[in-house]
Symmetry: C2
Subunit: 227 residues, 2 copies
């Protein structure tokens, strides 16, 4: 990999912070990597549940990226509808060596035209929406298709990022980072995917997400109508 | 649980951000919970690898907590040596219903006298240091001893937090949160604990951590000398 290898995290208001902070913890530990955290306006950024980041770079100030990583979150719909934001995603994505995302970040990659014809993952509740962008939904936790590395919702970002590190810097470096962050997960329940969760749990979470699903569907229809 | 149930995240400069952001993602989703992110000075806080938080509350402005949660990180040694910070930890911890931490956050609980005689976890590289505070090191990923819930390093915070939610709000709520954040981890390697990692990986990570281990050991000796 070129040194410094420049990783640009592309953020927007109301991201799900763990979509970003999981991969950030992993990727910022790669020797020889430069990590830049950026948003359209730079400065301060509110995330979904109240945590606020600051000192962000401004996307338009960044000349190029070797890797872009876009997290998901409730703000994904508004971000996808913002032409200035999307112009920056396209610009940085088109010349990047790796195009990556976590969760519904893949819908932004889709709307930017960066994953047409590619297999891609997303949060289980919104994955099928990828077909609207000519991408092929894949239910794997980490989905790799050429230079596009995406995957499942929120916590999948840690697995996605470790997979990226293995590719960038080799298995030994990825293993060191995995041991340093003591990533030997032991979830208290076996319910992290709808296929294994109880029906009542799936129904309850779908109800919480129903508004977001409808909002995303409508926004994508609008984009297709405008195209 | 009392409503609103007040969860106070106690942060300090150079925390390992994922120690905090994993549990925050989980605990901020508990219905009826109020989450406060606080530091000694409030305002803006730099974390270990460059990510900066802002809009933090000031610990001395918080009258009480139902649960305190303290993450670990390289800044843990300086935090433990800061009497003003430690006075706030003691004050909020002594009246809290739950005393919790991730990673080396348990060394701060130990230095505050909050886990004497209790079993507690910590990052694998620093766990034995707990004996200096009269706590009993436990190598489980999530360690519960009465109202003290601690555990392993960095990513263990997600498992610790889901365990706390099950206790606070019941298994059904914890399962909903686990499914919402798609927590069905699939680590690319089996090396997240020294017991299962290759020898060369353990040796390489220990070398990276050697300076921190020595710094922590000396600081704790100093505290014991002063006590």
């Amino acid at each position: 990999m070129p040194k410094p290898f420049r990783i640009v995290f592309i953020l927007y208001p109301r991201i799900t912070q763990l979509d970003f902070t999981g991969p950030y913890e992993v990727l910022a530990r790669v020797p020889g990597a430069e990590t830049i955290i950026a948003s359209k306006d730079g400065g301060t950024l509110p995330t979904e549940l109240g945590l606020t980041f600051t000192n962000l770079a401004k996307l338009s100030d960044i000349d190029r990226a070797d890797l872009i990583m876009i997290p998901g979150g409730p703000g994904q719909t508004d971000a996808m509808l913002d032409p200035d934001f999307m112009a920056q995603v396209k610009r940085l994505g088109e010349s990047a060596q790796y195009i990556t995302s976590v969760c519904t970040g893949s819908l932004i990659l889709g709307a930017a035209g960066l994953i047409k014809g590619k297999r891609a993952g997303s949060h289980w509740a919104y994955r099928e929406l990828l077909t609207n962008f000519g991408a092929i939904p894949d239910d794997a936790r980490v989905v790799r298709d050429g230079n596009v590395i995406t995957g499942g919702g929120v916590t999948a970002g840690i697995d996605i990022a470790l997979t990226i590190v293995a590719d960038l810097a080799g298995d030994d470096v990825a293993k060191m980072i995995q041991l340093a962050i003591e990533y030997a997960p032991a979830p208290p329940f076996n319910c992290g995917r709808p296929e294994v969760a109880e029906e009542k749990t799936v129904a309850a979470v779908k109800q919480v997400f129903a508004g977001f699903a409808e909002q995303r569907r409508k926004a994508i229809e609008g984009l297709k109508g405008a195209a």
